[in-house]
Symmetry: D2
Subunit: 346 residues, 4 copies
């Protein structure tokens, strides 16, 4: 039995707790902690069979009974907590991003490596049934050599301007998932990024120095060309699709809907909009990533999404931002040099 | 908090236990019993937070702490246990069928009524996201007056001949769900049944006096015409679709698939087969029916699928069997008279 | 070069003229006749390169230059003209139905046989790209042995009551095409018919002794079961679909639309309604049937839709009408005996 | 009656002749000429009711009976013939491209303007049922302000290397249609082009200095961002799709197929590949563009695709080529200056 502690018992922490308690046979959550722990949160924990709730992160990290910790606290705490957990010899599942600063991520990667613990980053979309099926088709060679990797990723609603201000920019906040996805789908590393962005949804986002719409051209080591199409607001809902086109054909995924109902009347033929947002669409993937994490520990195999997988999308976001501002393609090599990042092994 | 006991801890009993423990906020499973209770089953129960496991059904039914029982044991025990539970004042969720004998079902309905307890039959497909969306479209009047109700229901594999022998016949064993579905979708009662059946999948099924393929024509009180198309084996998997066609249009549901992947190559355009079988396709509906049951108790409202809803599909199966054997349309009135069933209120 | 004359230069006569003149390399229309021939019709004919226009049917039939005639005149003239044309040694393409009276059709079949000419009936839907593809999938054994043949056939608008009065009834007027289709798709003969019909679209149709909605159960010699679902009015347009389900899988066709446009907005996902009516949907098939007819003559092979193919759907319509009125399944053998029809070879 | 002459009686010349003779009521083809006119071509012309066939282009252009000419000869003759026809006062339909040299196109535009004749370029895809429906949805404001215009355009087979050598490059030969399409769909002019290209299908194409795969980012005057995805070879056939995404939603078109057949078996669910190539897919659009051309003349309104519409895609191709070679975004203003093209009114 794998004993797990969860740091941060907000929305995502609870999702992971529920997955482990009901879906993972040989793991259980022993304790949770949250700086804002309150009686309601404690009651929720007990309902999931988690009897130990507290506010002290250090106590949890040092608990000798725990094999692994899930870091579900605020972003700015991810790197420090990861390094402390590594030092304490715990396997680590860390929500994305590890840190906005690539150098800091490298420190985490180094610490994890030295500690010899398993480390997984929360890029849950890799575990989505659709994208997993797409990746499998590519891996099995069913589309041959990849030529084009296309990701359409559009949110149902633009975030509040207050959120925009602290988001780190759309490329770092939203596109980061798509940067991970193109790496996952292509099975190849990006060498160059060209980003065309604009504030088409809400001009006030531009006033804040950010964008809400972007189209990003990527070049991959294997010669393939990538495209990410982002919008902060699709009127019809959360649009999450991808296509890999190759020498033998194409594999593509569509959106999920709440039902398959088709209504035909004098107006036309209507079907349902996509599932509303990431919690609905990716709910299953949150469970799958935790199942994958615990399996990696038990089987002592590399996790599916390691530290380097947490690093590179951040570098890609920086390359995209630079490309947009300087109005030219930017190589990953240039960004690595600029950020002082040597090649890091996963 | 609603305290629940589960009788029968096989596959479906476990499914319901998991739903209650993780999806229903104000209900919990206090105890389970099963005549074949063993250490493995006990361990599974404990993992779901159910500490009391036993073999004695009577003890469970008489447990004064319990508000409700779920009857998930063998079919032949359903009626007797339902009546005992009613007598003990417990609300009852009973797996389908209540009994193969309509008279016996009437006894259960009477007992439940006298006891004044809530009673729900396990016609889970009414809670499927697709069929629920279809029914809602009909209820909202989006297709106008229903003219045709069509249900396509095909299993991925014919059952073993041993199963066929004890199944009560395909119409009672498999079509029973579809008889319930046409009532649910149409919002009207069936008045007449004409069944055309054959053993097209496996001729040995005919030797056993059963069929594996059927097409059933139904007439409804509201004038609509129904069609059920059944096969024990669809090579492409579990085919579960329905359409309601009416004066203003048509509402139809398609099959669910494991992913939305579309693969395009020299052979053509391929998409995924339907989800394999009822456990995959209807998993969510098992949770929804239990949520609905507990809500009915808490709000003291009629359950969504009452005793009469358990009775009529059995009468329809009998009418269909008679129609097939006598090669003529058979009215429900004729069957009711033959079975000695007076009109029963729900 | 095959020289063709057309009798009746209304809508369908013109469609066939245009097909021959532009799509059939080694055939041409030499002359047309119509009892209501007028200058406008003559101008239209000349535009299609047809210089000889007249009113006299006999003159056309006796024209020694002609190899074949197309009978596109009123239904009541089909049988007589077919027999005259046969006597004159012309190959014959005759619009459906040959005659409402099965005995009269047998006379035509006999006359054609004696004359040794080619004869084709205008069941154009067999040449529709969708139904042809479906039939080919069945013929190639891709779905194995057929178990269910299902045809959904719904018109976009109910005809006027005046038309209903003279139509011969929906089963003879509309379902006749579907009776032909199930024979074509199954590759087997119908042995028994059970029809459930009603006037659900317009109660005044019932006052005229007709129906506007029907669901027909068919039994085939090969054991398969058929279903035809008819409505005189689908609010969303002309619904023309079919499925053949068999031991190895299912082949099904969907409706054609004017474009593949999909519009996604806050309301949902909308696509286009089916093509409006038979002229739009089946336009291509009218050309294909004429191409097939001329090819049969040139290659001296049986036509794709012979005299018996014109006879049997009429007998099926009679069986369906009898079934509906007597509220019981009716065998084809019974109808043949009643109509005094011996087995007729095609 | 509009009298038309056709210069060049190859594949496309014949297509246009057939369209006029059978689909355009008040126009007819009086004569055709082709430098390689032979008896077979003459026979084909006669079958279409065109009695005058010759080799002399000048004679045709000077024929005083003709109102309009269709220039369907080799590309290098387009500009000179257009100017001669304009001088002779004929309305002109000219196949694309007018000329590879923008300056030469401007000469044609000037000549046509001075002559006061109607001029249409053969960008037939604007008349495709799918793209026309898409443009209409955009025009009607159903998707609000356009944010992204995406065109996927992939051929079923790479051309021969011999063809590649003389093609002018993929961007000028193939993408030119997509450059026109994004202008048509967006209703806005392109301001900047960034092209990423590669020879992924066949490395020998790279040896010839050309590419076979490209992804092109476009910026429009109205702020929208465009994407063209091109491949010389899609294993599953001719992939021709587009999407316009805007503030109120998205409108997208799918591929056309030969039938709607869906085959479901143990392997999965299969549907048909796209129609093979441009002659199959766009056949209807060739007729529609000619109908539009003759209507513009009759109604004395601007043609749907004028001279400037022939010019700008050529400039876009040049911008794309420059972008690819210099590895940077290139503005249309820069290209216009480089080519010495002043702003030209349509």
């Amino acid at each position: 039995m794998l004993n797990i502690g969860i740091i941060g018992f907000g929305r995502i922490g609870k999702v992971h707790a529920r997955s482990i308690q009901t879906r993972v046979e040989d793991a259980c959550v022993l304790r949770v902690c949250d700086p804002f722990m309150n009686p309601e949160m404690e009651a929720e924990a007990r309902k999931l069979g988690i009897m130990e709730c507290g506010r002290d992160t250090q106590e949890l990290i040092q608990d000798p009974r725990l094999d692994a910790v899930l870091i579900c606290s605020s972003t700015h705490t991810h790197a420090a907590l990861s390094m402390e957990a590594a030092k304490a010899g715990k396997h680590i599942f860390c929500e994305k991003p590890i840190d906005p600063d690539p150098k800091r991520i490298v420190e985490v990667i180094t610490a994890v490596k030295q500690a010899g613990v398993h480390f997984q980053v929360g890029f849950n979309r890799r575990f989505d049934h659709n994208f997993k099926a797409l990746r499998q088709a590519v891996e099995q060679g069913r589309i041959g050599d990849p030529h084009f990797i296309t990701v359409v990723s559009r949110d149902p609603e633009a975030p509040s301007l207050d959120y925009v201000k602290v988001s780190g920019g759309m490329l770092m906040d939203m596109t980061i998932h798509d940067f991970d996805m193109v790496r996952y789908l292509s099975g190849s590393e990006v060498t160059e990024v060209y980003a065309a962005g604009a504030a088409l949804v809400n001009p006030r986002i531009q006033e804040l120095g950010d964008i809400d719409s972007a189209q990003i051209t990527l070049r991959f080591e294997n010669g393939a060309i990538g495209c990410i199409s982002n919008s902060r607001r699709a009127a019809y809902g959360y649009d999450q699709r991808a296509e890999v086109f190759g020498s033998k054909g194409s594999a593509a995924t569509q959106n999920d809907t709440a039902s398959t109902l088709i209504l035909s009347d004098e107006q036309g033929i209507q079907s349902e909009k996509p599932l509303y947002f990431f919690l609905e669409r990716y709910m299953q993937s949150f469970a799958e990533e935790i199942i994958s994490f615990t399996r990696a520990i038990r089987e002592n195999k590399p996790t599916a999404v390691g530290g380097v997988d947490g690093l590179i999308p951040v570098l890609m976001a920086k390359a995209a931002a630079k490309s947009m501002h300087e109005h030219r393609p930017v190589t990953m090599a240039e960004i690595k040099q600029e950020e002082g990042i040597e090649d890091v092994e996963s």
